[in-house]
């Protein structure tokens, strides 16, 4: 077999690119499979670049930078060291063989080291054969359907909804009558008996607000738009009803300066969980450990009894599959996606004015509703939520095609917690992978 892998190597101009030069000058052999791309710093290698390389048909991607402590921009390679392993975990989870991506450090004088890493990497990729990542149009057919294990049915606990409803209404009326806030965002029951977001601007309207086992929407996602300054007048203060997961989203939004703490009055409601369409406790609530909102101005309800933490059966099942089957699984899921962006729009963390994957001039993804584009969008979105996702699972609930999107987010939340001991939104702090060194970020 005469297979020659195509390998893209992103080389930092100061160390690794010069290191490759050193190898050349010293006449040390390096594999010709390497297509070197010179970047100012390994910290510049955004996950989108790596994903794009695979989308375009690379068999392997190598990123080389200066040794830690020797970065010519002080901390650029720290950034690479923090975020590229997260991307690596994500792409493995999506079915890429782990050997196809490698991050390492090579200094300007280490020609031999460059050659050794390049050779080892090339041989490892060669042994795997051509990549199956890029899908030609019509080039993927669903194999035998691989179904996730069914979710556990957990009966909904009995709730004191009437008491909470009364308390929410009373607080909303007080805030609106005193003009402390201009609007209270809560829940109401719509004409079909479906619970949905409600916006109350007066004491009369506050009578519509309710609390019940179906208060699923994460209302924090309305805050950035509601609190964006329009015209000369500053936006009026807004009160928002939050469950514990929603309250974590408020913290992340605060950390990312979407609004300030004095702009919102948080009405926290203790939460025993919400139910799904079949009446069972939602999967996210089966593993939820916070039952009391982490941030609030008003707290409604008693702390509920401890809830047993359920197992994450779906993720475990997926982790145990061999890479090729895992890729098949995800392709069969993404195949259904229609790129309606309901997941993104329902997400409180997805608040970029224009999504990277929807820009007219986007070089990261085409506008087609094809398998490659859909996968790039979902993986890219998951990566952008790493360390920010609070696990409210609204993306998955909003999906009209029932794609288990939250598995991607859970996977990365787990990676972030393992590596950085960080769980999004428990305190007002941004994702550890968007900051550079621990302690570098200072509030205010």
């Amino acid at each position: 077999m005469n297979y020659e892998p195509r390998i893209i190597a992103f080389l930092c101009t100061w160390c690794s690119y010069t290191g490759a030069d050193t190898a050349g000058i010293a006449r040390i052999k390096s594999p010709a499979n390497i297509r070197a791309i010179r970047v100012p710093c390994s910290g510049r290698v955004s996950p989108e670049l790596v994903m794009r390389a695979f989308d375009q048909g690379a068999d392997g991607v190598l990123v080389l930078g200066c040794h830690i402590g020797e970065c010519h921009y002080d901390t650029g390679n720290h950034r690479a060291a923090k975020r590229l392993p997260i991307l690596h975990a994500l792409m493995q989870f999506a079915g890429l063989e782990p050997e196809r991506f490698h991050l390492d450090w090579v200094s300007a004088s280490e020609g031999e080291r460059f050659s050794r890493i390049a050779t080892e990497f090339t041989e490892a990729v060669r042994a795997l054969g051509p990549v199956a990542w890029r899908i030609a149009p019509g080039g993927w057919q669903a194999a035998a359907e691989s179904l996730l294990p069914p979710e556990k049915e957990v009966p909904m606990p009995a709730l004191d909804c009437a008491g909470k409803t009364d308390a929410i209404r009373a607080k909303a009326k007080e805030l609106l009558t005193s003009r402390e806030v201009g609007c209270v965002i809560g829940y109401e029951v719509g004409p079909r008996g479906r619970t949905r977001p409600a916006f109350a601007y007066s004491a009369e309207e506050a009578d519509r607000l309710v609390w019940n086992p179906d208060v699923s929407n994460n209302l924090a996602s309305y805050l950035p738009v509601k609190l964006k300054p329009k015209g000369k007048e500053p936006p009026k203060k807004v009160a928002v009803v939050v469950k514990s997961c929603d309250s974590r989203a408020v913290n992340v939004l605060l950390a990312e300066n979407q609004f300030t703490r004095d702009q919102v009055h948080v009405i926290g409601v203790t939460c025993e969980g919400v139910r799904d369409g079949s009446g069972s406790l939602q999967v996210r609530c089966q593993t939820c450990s916070e039952r009391i909102p982490v941030v609030y101005d008003t707290l409604i309800g008693e702390p509920p009894a401890a809830v047993q933490a359920g197992a994450v059966a779906r993720a475990d099942w997926l982790e145990k599959l061999p890479p090729r089957e895992r890729m098949e699984f995800w392709l069969s899921q993404f195949d259904r996606c229609i790129r309606c962006y309901a997941c993104r729009q329902a997400c409180p963390m997805c608040n970029c004015p224009i999504c990277l994957y929807e820009r007219d001039d986007s070089i990261w993804v085409g506008m087609g509703i094809g398998l490659n584009e859909k996968r790039t969008f979902h993986l890219g979105r998951a990566y952008h939520l790493a360390g920010r996702c609070v696990g409210c699972n609204e993306c998955e609930r909003a999906c009209p095609m029932d794609i288990p999107i939250s598995l991607l987010n859970q996977k990365l939340a787990g990676e972030i917690e393992k590596t950085f001991g960080h769980r999004a939104g428990l305190i007002i702090a941004p994702s550890p992978i968007v900051t550079v060194l621990s302690g570098e970020y200072k509030e205010g």
């Binding site: 229609i338 329902a346 224009i354 929807e358 909003a398």
Partner: protein, 347 residues
């Protein structure tokens, strides 16, 4: 009932006969039917009749026989390559490949068939004819299945349809005791029916049961509601996703772009687009005429009940078929029937 309706030929067939017939159809043609795909129901090609989801109720689809996506995706797919562009030093070569497969869609419900008819007004009945849509449409036979009753979000009867309306089908099937009553609606449909093998009958199909129609504002009454504050109010919960438009049997906006395949090779594609998206209608210079989501949501309703009927001469009919999918999928609980009833209410 019109005269032509009563003159239609009808046959009485059993479930087994129906399945044998479908198996036969699947061999010579592409048979597309409702099918379970990872827990949801979609129109997908099936190789045999036992792959068909006859009654697949799923969490996302409250209506027992109705796939999550409308049949629109078969005639007007989410992404379609219009042509490829090959650029060399001397010339630019354009090449187009047209779909050419004979297809039968089985199990289509009256609301979806009505949707196809409404898409025809734009793609087929207006010049220039859309060659991709037209080829698919001409080569496809629609075999309908009457709904016995309305699903929880259905309101076809309020917008001029009915759960047993055979009007837009080629062949219509009605469930009866111990089998189906098959009715040839068009010549195209008659052609597929195995003449001698089936037992002809003069029986009339049993009418479906339904109630609870509500009045929908007439076309002429829409313009006066254009500046209502109501639109800003109801749109507050809207998330500006496109789920409603993409599941809709008659939303048909698309965007066109050239994308690079390889150096010197490009393709021109068109893909679904929807007015709910923030960048829809953005013009050169960055101005967005419908910057507020209330304006965008208003456009969705105006398009269904005023713009589209006005532009394509639908008469009193609206471009909504009452399938209720948008109500089901909306993550924020926006409800088209609520809007229609609110507009009809005297201010």
């Amino acid at each position: 009932m019109s005269k032509s309706n009563s003159a239609r030929k009808r046959w009485l067939i059993s479930q087994a006969e129906l399945e044998t017939w479908l198996d036969g159809l699947a061999q010579a043609r592409t048979l597309i039917a409702p099918r379970q795909v990872s827990g949801i129901m979609l129109y997908r090609p099936v190789a045999r009749s036992d792959e068909i989801a006859w009654h697949g109720q799923t969490p996302k689809s409250a209506h027992a026989g109705r796939p999550v996506l409308s049949v629109k995706e078969i005639f007007f797919p989410p992404t379609e390559r219009l042509f490829t562009i090959q650029k060399t030093r001397q010339e630019i070569r354009l090449e187009e490949t047209f779909p050419d497969w004979e297809t039968v869609v089985f199990g289509i419900r009256p609301c979806d068939a009505r949707g196809v008819k409404l898409l025809d007004a734009l793609f087929l009945d207006t010049n220039p004819v859309d060659s991709f849509y037209a080829r698919r449409r001409w080569n496809t036979t629609l075999i309908g299945l009457a709904c016995k009753e309305l699903g929880p979000t259905c309101f076809c009867t309020s917008v001029g349809g009915a759960p047993d309306n055979a009007h837009d089908m080629d062949i219509m099937l009605y469930e009866t005791d111990g089998g189906y009553l098959a009715e040839a609606v068009t010549e195209k449909g008659r052609y597929l029916i195995p003449g001698g093998k089936w037992k002809e009958t003069t029986a009339s199909p049993q009418q479906s049961t339904y109630s609870g129609q509500f009045p929908v504002p007439e076309k002429g009454k829409w313009p006066e509601h254009f500046n209502d504050e109501y639109w800003l109010k109801i749109s507050e919960r809207c998330l500006s996703c496109r789920a409603c438009a993409y599941v809709c049997p008659t939303c048909r906006c698309f965007a066109v772009r050239d994308e690079m395949l390889a150096p010197g090779q490009f393709e021109r594609i068109r893909c679904w687009d929807a007015c709910a998206g923030e960048n829809y209608r953005r013009v050169a210079g960055g101005h967005k005429p419908r910057a507020e989501k209330g304006e965008r949501l208003r456009n969705r309703f105006f398009c269904k009940f005023y713009y589209y009927p006005e532009q394509y001469g639908l008469g009193a009919a609206s471009a909504c078929t009452g399938c209720g999918r948008c109500i089901e999928v909306c993550p924020a609980g926006v409800d088209i029937t609520e809007v229609l009833m609110a507009l009809e209410k005297p201010a």
